[in-house]
């Protein structure tokens, strides 16, 4: 296999964002995934969301572990650096990178295998640190790249392509993240761009750890009858509870929202996410109640989707707040400021004489 670059011919009629970039400018290398793979739709949604937010491409940092899903960081925003690390360990790379330069947008892409088995520990601890990043799980219930073994998100009773049934209870990243104190938790479906794109935008603007668990069918190993992560099954059991609209700073909220059913959240830069409750009883700002409702619906075989929980004070407990890091990136602080010099050494050594 070799590297295939997508030809970039900017058609004059393509719409441009505030930076004068077209959607093509947010694309990456050509995908080598199977045709119809859910992951490719998520890539497209990331492209759309980044273009819509008019992110400076070089300020996007793309991080991933190993898996079909983790390969996709090469397929969007080619103007941003990418780091395809080792299996399950992307969160630590993200932590270090973010510690070095807090001013960039960190997008982590992982799989259900990468996050929920080998990488479960790092995933949990990134949440606990409220690391400022968007973390997308491209969840297909299987290990795609190693050819279809069950992952830890496979539901009880789900059948593998070769016929085997899964009996182990799944780990649900949404519920797990909520109990660990995550400040932004969402679920979506690769087939629902309407829902996914604004969620990605909201997650990128969120000042803390933003998780989006995206159901993303594997057409090759987990799209058959009997699988609970197939396109057909997902479409049928997929239940939007809260729709999030991302409203950039310069735009007015124009949509016709009904009183009492919407909640505008102001982001740190003044942009807003307007949450629209599709399920009147659902409260995305109440961690405990939301978790109960998600579980109840799950028992009934439904995936609640949308922005399922958001902390109204996300910066609380965020890594850099706790660490008291300066606003300027640590990697930009001049050496003269960092190194105390010979006089500083003299002073430091006094107690060792």
């Amino acid at each position: 296999m070799t590297f295939i670059a997508k030809p970039k011919v900017a058609h004059p009629s393509l719409p441009k964002n505030a930076l004068g970039f077209t959607r093509r400018d947010y694309e990456g290398a050509l995908s080598t995934l199977c045709a119809g793979c859910g992951h490719d739709s998520i890539t497209a949604a990331i492209v759309e969301a980044s273009w819509g937010l008019a992110l400076e491409p070089q300020n996007v940092v793309k991080l991933s572990g190993i898996g079909c899903s983790s390969k996709t960081t090469a397929y969007f925003v080619s103007g941003g650096h990418g780091f395809n690390s080792v299996h399950g360990r992307m969160p630590s790379i993200a932590m270090g990178a973010n510690a070095a330069n807090r001013s960039l947008h960190y997008i982590g892409v992982s799989g259900d295998g990468d996050t929920l088995s080998i990488g479960l520990g790092q995933f949990c601890h990134a949440i606990r640190r409220n690391l400022n990043m968007l973390y997308i799980i491209e969840n297909n219930g299987v290990y795609g790249l190693t050819k279809g073994q069950f992952s830890a998100s496979a539901d009880v009773g789900s059948r593998a392509k070769k016929g085997e049934t899964n009996f182990q209870p799944p780990i649900d990243p949404v519920l797990l993240a909520m109990t660990l104190g995550a400040s932004f938790v969402a679920r979506s479906f690769s087939g629902d761009k309407q829902q996914l794109v604004p969620l990605i935008q909201a997650g990128l603007k969120h000042q803390g750890f933003a998780l989006i668990d995206v159901l993303s069918p594997c057409v090759t190993f987990n799209d058959h009858e009997g699988s609970t992560k197939s396109y057909a099954y997902t479409r049928e059991h997929y239940e939007p509870a809260v729709h999030a609209d991302f409203v950039p700073l310069e735009r007015e909220i124009t949509a016709d929202y009904k009183e009492g059913e919407t909640l505008p959240l102001i982001m740190h830069d003044g942009s807003r996410i307007v949450l629209r409750k599709l399920d009147a009883a659902y409260d995305p700002t109440n961690r405990t109640l939301a978790a109960v409702q998600i579980q109840e619906r799950m028992k009934a075989g439904e995936y609640l989707t949308g922005l399922l929980f958001v902390d109204l004070e996300p910066a609380k407990g965020a890594f850099h707040v706790v660490n008291q890091t300066p606003d300027a990136p640590l990697n930009s602080i001049p050496f003269e400021v960092l190194s105390p010099g010979s006089q500083g050494l003299e002073k430091a050594l006094a107690r060792y004489r």
Partner: protein, 613 residues
Amino acid sequence: MSAANSTRVNDFTIKIATVNGTGSASANTLLMKSIFRSGIPVMGKNYFPSNIQGLPTWYEIRITRDGHVARSGQVDIMVAMNAETYARDAKEVAPGGYLLYDSTWPRPALLKREDITVIGVPLARLCNENFNGVRTRILMKNICYAGVLAALLDLDVARIRELLAETYAKKPQLVDSNMKAIQLGYDYARASFSCPLPLRVEPMSGTAGHIMIDGNTAAALGCVFAGATVAAWYPITPSTSLMDAFKMFGDRMRVDRDSGRRNFAFIQAEDELAAIGMVIGAMWNGARAFTATSGPGVSLMNEFLGLAYYAEVPAVIFDIQRVGPSTGMPTRTQQGDLMECAYASHGDTRHVCLYPANPEECFYMAVQAFDLAERLQTPVLVLSDLDIGMNDWMCRDLKWDDSYRPDRGKVLGKEEILKLEKFYRFIDKDGDGITARTLPGVHPKAAYFARGSGHTQYGAYTEDAADYQLVLDRLLKKWATAKKLVPRAVIDATAGAPVGLVSLGSCDGAVREAIEVLKSRGVGVDYMRVRSFPFSDDVERFLAAHELLFVVEQNRDAQFRALLTLETAVDKSRLRSLLHYNGLPISSSFIVEGVLAELRPRQRLQPQGALRG
């Protein structure tokens, strides 16, 4: 009681046996520091258990007017405060030596040795009569033996007071209570024995321009001065104090006065896999970052080290080696990670390693490690050990050159990027195997994709045989460049002998002392202390120039010797191993005996003394 010793000034060893968690550490530090302040070179080694309270612990103080830094291998005065280890402690005293014990409780079994002098002081009784509270009495009993030793050895009590005043600057009442305990012991000894003993100290001026510092503190200082801003680790003995020290110095020297913000990120990771991942992420993103760990941590870091090697990301790792295999003996010292670090991770991987011999070198090599890692875009492992890291060593004053500027290696800035038509991450323009890198956030033209999967010199994914091999071969070229950049070996070939001693790291002090002893017995040997991996050319030359080479190291499997045979052209049959691996720091006598055991029969066979230096 034995016959009186002949006088021995400033040249003997005291060993103190106590129970851990009883505050003996402060008494021992006090003793050692007051000797140091009297201008007398001193060595202190702590043999402590992996336990918080209640197990035996020893502290060895060698007073050494000649400035030796290793164990002598002999104990002249034993302070036997622990009933549990009493019998073996008594046995360890060299003939003619002294045994000090707490005579509050009689110990008839003691009197079995006729060749040593036994000194009983009712320490517990003295403290019970003079202090209140169980805890205070236990703590003061330890301070009290320091007072007894002060009288026996002729230590200056005023100096002890001065040190206590510094330590408890903020709690003057502690100075008084500690001094009271010192005085109790001191006065009792003066009244009961003829003080000082023939083994005694006399002020001299042998410590000017020196400090007493442990290697972990010195390494942490090095990281601060090198400009490290991201520190990530998972606690493990004996490396934890390095991170503690970094935080302490950071909080003192890296906090912005106006904003109160800290110019460093300090991250306690969930495990060592995460710790090294954070370091790699941070250095990939242009910060100087490091982690400190020990053998078990390095084992966990293997996969990530391979990634950093192949994706060419700098990283700095301090491995404070302890006794393995597995959990081993966490509070004992060894050089057991030499192999593991040199070749960590699967596939063709080799890593730059530095081998500091003492705290002074920990400081300078910490700085060097960052420069090498960034210049070579690869992990650099600094292999210290528990002996260097956690014991206080007398070493030369640390110096800082204010003209130092970090070598950030080939990192293209925005201006340079703008001049490029296109940026390719892995094309070797300079022929040294090192290719230019860029940092995120600078310019979209310079974005690249770092990966541990097969890649072409353009940075793209590949499974193509030739493309893959091109990059792998270029990494070899980089390895050759590393050979030229790493610190040279320290070679002393003044003996011009056909016999050479080859060693590394914390063996150095013992080897140097052994060479002096051998010389005094008419055996001249040359010495090479290797300071880095890959081995520089001078290593090859030294090995080639000597007929018989003793390789001195602190592990069972001769890992250093194995590295030498793998990575140089040396003829294996000329190498003899001297292996010390019981967990205690190597002593000079071990080396002297090892060398003589090999040379004596040879000299008998070859009366011309072909191997005599």
